[in-house]
């Protein structure tokens, strides 16, 4: 644990130093405040590191919830990593695939990785949820979402229904 703490503190110092190396490129009046903070971060990290080495700092290994996660069986850890990866990939492909497709796939993949009992029900629920929220975002909440080919078709359908309604009123 000592090594993890020391390496982490070293990384904090490195990060601060990298920022510190940037300060000469900043206008003089704007660099003083961040420079003071960089010095404080480095000094604080150094003192904590020294206390760690001297054995005077905390000896408890990790945050309880993180520690529990690390001590779980490998299969569980792989599934949690898969869960995180699913949502990272979702964020990556959302703009390209569009909200409907990407969200359906991501919800299904996530539920499947977290051991949902019925895969088909999971997939259908994911598709229904994506569709309902896509319509809600477009018509009630006015929240823009990335549009793929399917989303564009849905938008056209919503527009034509609304347009027909308006024409009918006239």
């Amino acid at each position: 644990m000592l090594y993890f703490n020391l390496i982490s503190l070293l990384l904090v110092v490195c990060g601060a130093v990298v920022l510190g190396l940037q300060t000469p490129h900043i206008a003089e009046s704007a660099r003083i405040y961040p420079l003071v903070l960089i010095v404080l971060v480095v000094a604080c990290s150094a003192v904590v590191a020294v206390k760690e080495i001297a054995g005077r700092a905390a000896t408890e290994p990790l945050d309880t919830r993180i520690a529990k996660m690390f001590s779980a069986p490998l299969s569980v850890r792989i599934r949690v990593a898969g869960f995180v990866a699913t949502w990272l990939v979702y964020a990556w492909v959302l703009s390209e695939a569009g909200f409907l497709v990407a969200t359906t796939c991501a919800i299904f993949a996530s539920l499947w990785l977290l051991k949902i009992r019925h895969a088909l029900v999971g997939f259908l629920s994911a598709a229904a949820f994506s569709l309902v929220f896509s319509i809600l975002f477009a018509t009630v909440l006015f929240i823009p979402t990335p549009a793929g080919p399917l989303d564009q078709l849905l938008t056209q359908a919503i527009y034509s229904i609304q347009h027909k309604g308006t024409q009918h009123d006239h």
Binding site: F4, N5, S8, L9, V12, A16, L19, Q22, I26, A27, S29, A30, R31, Y33, P34, L37, I38, L40, V41, C44, S45, V47, V48, A57, A58, T59, E60, L62, D63, T64, R65, I66, K68, M69, A72, V76, R79, V80, F83, V84, W87, L88, Y90, A91, L94, S95, T103, A106, I107, S110, L111, L114, K115, I116, L141, F142, I143, P144, T145, P146
Partner: protein, 505 residues
Amino acid sequence: MWQGLLAALSPTNLFVEVMGVLIGIVFGAIPGLTATLAIALFVPVTFLMKADSGMIMLGGIYAGGIFGGSISAILINVPGTPASIITGWEGYALAREGKAPLALSLAALSSGVGGLLSGVALLFLTPLLSSLALTFGPPEYCALLLFSFTIVTVMMDTPLLRNLLGCFIGLLLTTIGLDPVTGAARFTFGSVDLMSGFNLVAVLVGFFCMTEAAFLAFEGLDRSASDGVIEFGRGHSYRELARTLWTRAATYLRSSTIGVLLGILPAVGPVETPFIAHTVERKFNKKDEKFGKGSVTGLIASECSISANVGGSLMPLISLGIPGSGAAAVFVAALTLHGLQPGPLLFKSEPALIYSFFWGFIAVNLFMLLFGVFAARYFAVVLKLPKRVLATFIALFSILGSYAINNSMFDVGVMFGATALALWLRALRVPILPIVLAVILGPLFEQQTLVLFTTSNSIGDVLGRPIADGFFAVTLVMLAGSVYRRRAAPRPERSERESKCCIST
């Protein structure tokens, strides 16, 4: 004034009051979607209404959005809005004890009481309190912010140096982007996205929501956990709830007053207020061992101050034309859209509209209170969902919420970065709370510090300000007291304290 009351109770306005509250609650409950965003989205909708109805609806969205944020914070430890972070600590701990319905109703009651008191202040004290806001200059702001940083840093049980390190890391993060005074780019590495720094909402969603999703995903798979479902909790008696109104009357009053007073200060919005109200209340409740870990008093302090802040932030807006928060700034746009100019003349030119809005704001808070106390506990059925399902949807809404801020994938990246940082720092036992506070208050602190140094000729300029002196004095006393207490504590106690992890923070 009484005409305004009748206007606020007209069927149309009653309808928009209820709709505003419901829309606000929905937006507030979804992580990443803030009250400010909801107001901004619905400003064009109000253009189709009469000015007073439109303003009342926006007031309802604002108040509902602020309360809605606490629903997800209490149920799944995911603050719907950044203002609900403290509510999450207290409320989620209560929910874990099987008291989710009580926590939700209590949040609604405190939120409603805070809102109602701020509504009364809006009606009777707007001109008086707004003039107080003008006495706050850079020395007062700096003193108040230093006081907040110090309180959080010294009051936490985790080692002082680690708290300080967290605080400095948070402050350093806020320096990325354009300098607030000169506009010079700092640490942007040529990236245009970094020019405006890291978006606060994206960072907070990363700190709290995505990390919680990962933990819930794990707990959903973990066989040692009960059955993957959080305890729903039993109902509670309304008498028990109402009793808090007199057993904790001082907390309600103190927190509401703090909320209103901080609300009238420009740039101190609902996000910052609960931190200060909660810490002040901690000083008054030293014997409450559950403070920060499921304390009823803590929950009341947080919710009361947030809602009171909403009313407070509208005071300088209406009487001086100065918005007291981001959401209040959007109100300026709404008023302008309706051809109205906020400021001292508004009281003279449109008194009926103003009083109709004030009474409408009170009605909105009453609806929110009733809805929250009698209906919000049904939201607690969320806890009946398996953790794996909760984890999936929290992750989804964290990403969508971050994306919706600026329709930018960059903010989603920031959110993931903040998640990684939060997990790493938790492992390093650097508490998250000082970082969060620094990220929230950092830009204001830097701006006011720079203005203070630029405009002050000598130390006498600062020492001649009684409000600032008061804050500085209290800060110094607290700092000295904390250092002395930590030094005086026997070694085993110190070790025990230093080995505490930052579970709740």
